[in-house]
């Protein structure tokens, strides 16, 4: 999966499921400034796992991503790992 496609799917989920304004979804944007709390974080992780068929919950370590750009990279890494196995 190309990075552009990952970005498109993540952003689409954030706009549709978390009612975020698309114009705010830049790679630098961090989750707190986007107005996401711990409840949203859990919901988002499971929503994205379903969208990408990857296991974020068991692979995530604190500090793995703090911004949206970090999240794109993290998902890209998981998809690559999955395809290599």
């Amino acid at each position: 999966m190309q990075k552009e496609e990952i970005i498109k799917i993540v952003n689409r989920a954030l706009v549709k499921e978390f009612e975020l304004d698309e114009s705010l979804l830049t790679p630098e944007a961090d989750f707190v400034s986007l107005g996401l709390d711990s409840l949203d974080a859990v919901d988002m992780v499971i929503t994205l796992e379903q969208a990408f068929k990857v296991d974020i919950r068991n692979n995530y370590k604190v500090g793995d991503f703090g911004s949206l750009g970090g999240l794109y990279d993290f998902i890209e890494k998981l998809i690559k790992q999955k395809n290599n196995v």
């Binding site: 549709k16 499921e17 978390f18 009612e19 709390d37 711990s38 409840l39 949203d40 859990v42 919901d43 992780v45 499971i46 929503t47 796992e49 379903q50 296991d55 919950r57 068991n58």
Partner: protein, 470 residues
């Protein structure tokens, strides 16, 4: 009628009672609102012809000294007397297609011995699997909550793999997989959907020890009532919460009888989908509400109750009877691949409960649904015929079949119809105890785990979150 409290707990089931007790123990002025006529109605059971039948409690794990349940009963001031069940076979698993009867023993080595003997060709895998169960349990935040601190939110999040994936990774024999997953009956979520971790906590914890409680559900209710009274919590029965409003930082809870309770902290333990109907509109984002509404219900219970002859103590083992080694099949919507649990009481004369699962699609919670009565009679007949043909020694010991209960019965007497609340599907969204409204929490068996200890654990987690935020 306006009443002011520090905390109000909606729902007087085990989870709600535990939450209320924890708040009251911290000196909070606390009220419990229960829609039914008594607290935790499912625990009351019922009596016929002088014999008591349990409807809510059959057995539990973790009640040995040093175990979580033992610790928490003491902490809550619950005066309860656990007693150990039969060590070499508290449950018997009857696999009908092969005729195998397997005795579930507790104590890791006892269980390993029984499994090794039955499946010698998978000995190595059995040992490795039991090690993995033990390791998972020792790392479980919930079962060690009394010993260690951890991130509260990460504790609430279950993660892959599913039980089915782990069983498939370790074992070849469908029978062996059935034996290790039939206890999915105890949480109501099929092996393909429950996480391995959740299954371990609920049924793997029985590998260590299995316990009854003297006096059963009634004793549990009495112990809670006594401790709540001692700690000054107010219990309101026949008080159904119909609306929660959020005004000026306070939660206003309206009851069906015109009562109004105002508080800072409100914990709802009612079914999450009912909570969505009574909570303020902005309790969650719309997408999250939709995901909660998509979560599946666990099956309800269809139970036959009988009394055994002569007061003769007949059987100490409970029985799981499965007609298909694919345990996912016991959650399917017909009685063709039926499986059931037979519980023998420790009373004299002995009470017998034959419990099977009914998926919500059968609509057995609605007496007005088409063919409700036909299905009820048909299912009862199927189970009676099964007992007569498969277990003649039990059939011969039955004095009389006394009652049949369906999910509609549970709904009428206990206010809900699915046996274990919402399914804990590892691939679906999780309901965390927090909401978007400060001081409004959601708890109950659909949040962390069902069952007596599951409900208590959920309440403890919620309490830890509340005490951190206030």
């Amino acid at each position: 009628m306006l009443k002011e409290y520090d905390s109000v707990v909606i729902g007087g089931g085990i989870s709600g009672l535990t939450s209320a007790l924890l708040l009251a123990q911290r000196g909070k002025k606390t009220a419990i609102l229960e829609a039914g006529a008594t607290i935790s109605p499912i625990m009351n059971g019922f009596s016929r012809k002088g014999v008591h039948f349990e409807t809510g409690f059959h057995y539990a794990s973790s009640l040995g000294e040093g175990d979580f349940g033992h610790y928490i009963f003491n902490k809550l001031g619950l005066d309860l007397e656990p007693f150990p069940l039969l060590q070499d076979g508290y449950d018997e698993i009857h696999i009908l297609p092969t005729g195998r009867v397997f005795k579930m023993a507790y104590g890791k080595q006892n269980l390993a011995n029984n499994l090794h003997e039955a499946f010698p060709e998978e000995k190595k895998a059995i040992t490795a699997y039991l090690d993995r169960v033990e390791n998972t349990l020792s790392k479980s935040f919930f079962l060690n909550m009394h010993k260690k601190q951890d991130s509260l939110y990460s504790a609430a999040i279950d993660s892959p793999p599913s039980l089915q994936e782990v069983l498939d990774e370790y074992f070849k024999s469908p029978e062996l997989k059935a034996i290790l997953s039939v206890s999915a009956f105890l949480h109501g979520t099929p092996p393909s959907k429950i996480s391995f971790g959740q299954h371990c906590r609920i049924s793997g914890s029985l590998y260590k020890s299995a316990w009854g409680i003297k006096g059963g559900g009634l004793a549990i209710n009495k112990a809670y009532k006594n401790s709540l009274e001692r700690n000054g919590a107010d219990i309101f029965v026949n008080a159904k919460a119909v609306k929660i409003e959020y005004k000026d930082g306070k939660k206003h809870i309206f009851t069906d009888k015109g009562g109004l309770f105002v508080c800072n902290t409100c914990i709802s333990t009612v079914h999450p989908k009912i909570f969505l109907n009574i909570a303020p509109k902005n309790v969650y984002r719309e997408g999250y509400k939709a995901r909660i509404n998509e979560l599946e219900e666990t099956p309800g219970f269809f139970t036959l109750y009988a009394i055994l002859k002569d007061g003769k103590y007949f059987k100490k083992s409970n029985m799981f009877v499965v007609s298909d080694t694919n345990i996912n099949g016991i959650f399917s919507p017909d009685m063709k691949t039926r499986s059931y649990y037979i519980n023998f009481s420790n009373s004299k004369p002995q009470a017998l409960s034959i419990i099977s699962l009914v998926p919500p699609s059968e609509q057995m919670w609605d007496k007005k649904a088409p063919e409700y009565n036909i299905k009820k009679e048909k299912y009862a007949e199927i189970l009676k015929k099964d007992i007569a043909s498969l277990f003649p020694e039990i059939a011969d010991s039955i004095e009389e079949y006394l009652e049949v209960s369906t999910p509609a019965t549970t709904r009428r007497f206990a206010g809900y119809y699915s046996g274990y609340g919402l399914m804990h599907d590892v691939n679906k969204t999780k309901i965390l105890p927090i909401t978007k409204i400060p001081g409004l929490y959601i708890s109950g068996r659909s949040i962390i785990a069902p069952g007596l200890l599951g409900a208590i654990i959920t309440a403890l987690l919620v309490d830890k979150i509340i005490s951190k935020s206030t």
